[in-house]
């Protein structure tokens, strides 16, 4: 026969163990939430002597399909291709933050950015003889329409970025337009933008937004307008 005081002591210890276990689980959950709230995977900016400047990022929002211009202060290299690459890496790193309105996977996204003066000229197929030297010479002809002027920005994306991008028309189109708008704001001379993936042309970003076409470099900050509902309400009763 177990004495009464031992039974009371036993159940008291059991109750204490349960309370401590509950307290421990609660504490672990709180610590986990606190740590994940600061799970910012943005790489820390390297120390630089360059002064910070105000940069406009065209930031996408999946909830309403809008793109809004967002002013930020950070340092960028002065060399144009490095500057464009750093700018786009910064933009896409913003999307990898936990509170992003257009969540994308973190990681390297932009392999390189090239600028090409327009119109692009290529050597003509038919060669002629120079009157002065008698040697064969090639005339340069514009490969694109003569109406094209300014610069063409060629953005070469990483294959892993394209493959892991969320799949959908809106989400892919917002990424493409966000990149175009940000480039347009930082490089006014850029009039057209093309995309490559791993240095090769690709049909779509991840099954939806076309990467085959040349996009005009324009201000892409927009808010979708809702449809006009006036006419259809009357027709619903009819049909």
């Amino acid at each position: 026969m177990i004495p009464r005081y031992q039974r009371v002591l036993f159940w008291s210890l059991i109750a204490g163990i349960c309370l401590m276990a509950a307290f421990l689980i609660h504490g672990c959950r709180q610590a986990h939430q606190r740590l994940t709230a600061f799970n910012d995977t943005t790489p820390i900016a390297a120390p630089t002597t360059a002064s910070t400047e105000e940069i406009t990022l065209d930031v996408a929002n999946d909830a309403d399909g809008s793109i809004s211009a967002n002013q930020q202060q950070f340092a960028l290299p002065q060399e144009p291709t490095l500057r464009a690459r750093a700018l786009l890496e910064h933009l896409l790193a913003e999307y990898a933050l936990p509170a992003s309105t257009h969540p994308l996977q973190s990681g390297p996204a932009v392999d390189d950015v090239f600028f090409v003066n327009l119109p692009i000229t290529t050597p003509a197929a038919a060669a002629s003889l120079s009157a002065a030297t008698g040697l064969q010479q090639n005339k340069a002809h514009p490969a694109r329409s003569a109406a094209s002027s300014g610069q063409l920005a060629v953005v070469d994306l990483h294959g892993s970025f394209a493959d892991n991008h969320p799949s959908g028309i809106q989400v892919e189109d917002l990424t493409v337009r966000s990149i175009i708008g940000t480039l347009h704001a930082a490089f006014p001379l850029v009039t057209e933008v093309r995309f490559l993936v791993n240095g090769q042309p690709r049909d779509t970003l991840n099954g939806h937004a076309s990467l085959k076409r040349t996009y005009p470099a324009i201000d892409t900050a927009t808010t979708p307008t809702p449809p006009e509902t006036g006419a259809t309400k009357q027709d619903d009763t009819h049909s």
């Binding site: 909830a63 799949s167 809106q170 939806h208 076409r213 449809p227 509902t229 027709d235 049909s239």
Partner: protein
């Protein structure tokens, strides 16, 4: 550059693609011997549905281990049934999940060959919310511009953009009336730029309501609700265009 007018419709594709409904009825002249007046038979407007992806191209991976290609096919079947009931002639670029599917260029080729009144490209996603309606992102022609003699493959949609925008607004308004959130936009999603008909890409996204969990695109009630609203909008649009044509025809007299 591929030129649209140089495209020939492959016989093999013609055998593979089976129209689900008879072709649009031709207006028959009234019989001279008939004494009783015959009511005019309503013309059947041809709609082309393009459930995107299929075969090895699964599209987006959605919630519940579903693939985009299965959702677009299911939505295609619902919409086709409703449109057929509403006396539309409907063609789908696929009605099953074959091993090999048409490329986007081949889908555009089918659509351009059959001259449908409307082309609807069906997609689904797990990003965003509500229903996204997209028209081509190409720059529409100015009002004073002459119609082009040659349609370029990459910009074949240009001349249809005003009609596409009008129809997208009509469908968007019907979806709003059905209490479904809508986002209208422009995007370059293949093969929309290659279509000569008024074309809209319809993307189903999860429906975030007042509850904590959004309604996934795999929800059959959600799909049926959206399909019903689209069918209502197309019926309304057909009634309007028919009335406009009748008005235009009567005006010179």
């Amino acid at each position: 550059m591929l030129i649209l007018c140089s495209f020939a419709f492959f016989p093999a594709q013609a055998q593979t693609l089976q129209p689900q409904t008879p072709p649009p009825a031709q207006t028959q002249p009234p019989a001279a011997s008939s004494a009783t007046p015959i009511a005019p038979k309503p013309t059947r407007t041809l709609i082309l549905l393009d459930p995107a992806h299929g075969g090895p191209d699964t599209g987006a991976h959605l919630s519940g281990n579903a693939s985009e290609k299965d959702i677009t096919l299911a939505f295609n079947n619902r919409l086709r049934a409703l449109l057929t009931t509403a006396n539309f002639a409907v063609i789908s670029t696929r009605t099953a999940d074959p091993g090999t599917v048409f490329t986007t260029d081949q889908r555009a080729e089918i659509a351009n060959h059959d001259h449908p009144a409307v082309c609807l490209i069906l997609h689904a996603t797990s990003s965003g919310s509500g229903i996204h309606l997209f028209t081509s992102a190409l720059t529409p022609p100015s009002a004073s511009a002459h119609p082009p003699h040659i349609l370029h493959w990459d910009t074949a949609q240009v001349s249809s953009i005003p009609a596409s925008l009008s129809l997208a607004n009509e469908i968007g308004a019907a979806l709003l009336n059905a209490k479904l959130p809508v986002i209208l936009g422009q995007a370059s999603v293949p093969p929309i730029d290659n279509l000569t008909c008024p074309a809209i890409a319809i993307e189903l996204a999860p429906l975030s309501g007042s509850g904590s969990t959004p309604t996934p695109v795999t929800n059959t009630d959600y799909q049926q609700h959206a399909a019903q609203a689209i069918a209502t909008a197309l019926t309304s649009w057909r009634n309007k265009t028919t009335a406009d044509k009748a008005t235009d025809g009567a005006a010179p007299q």
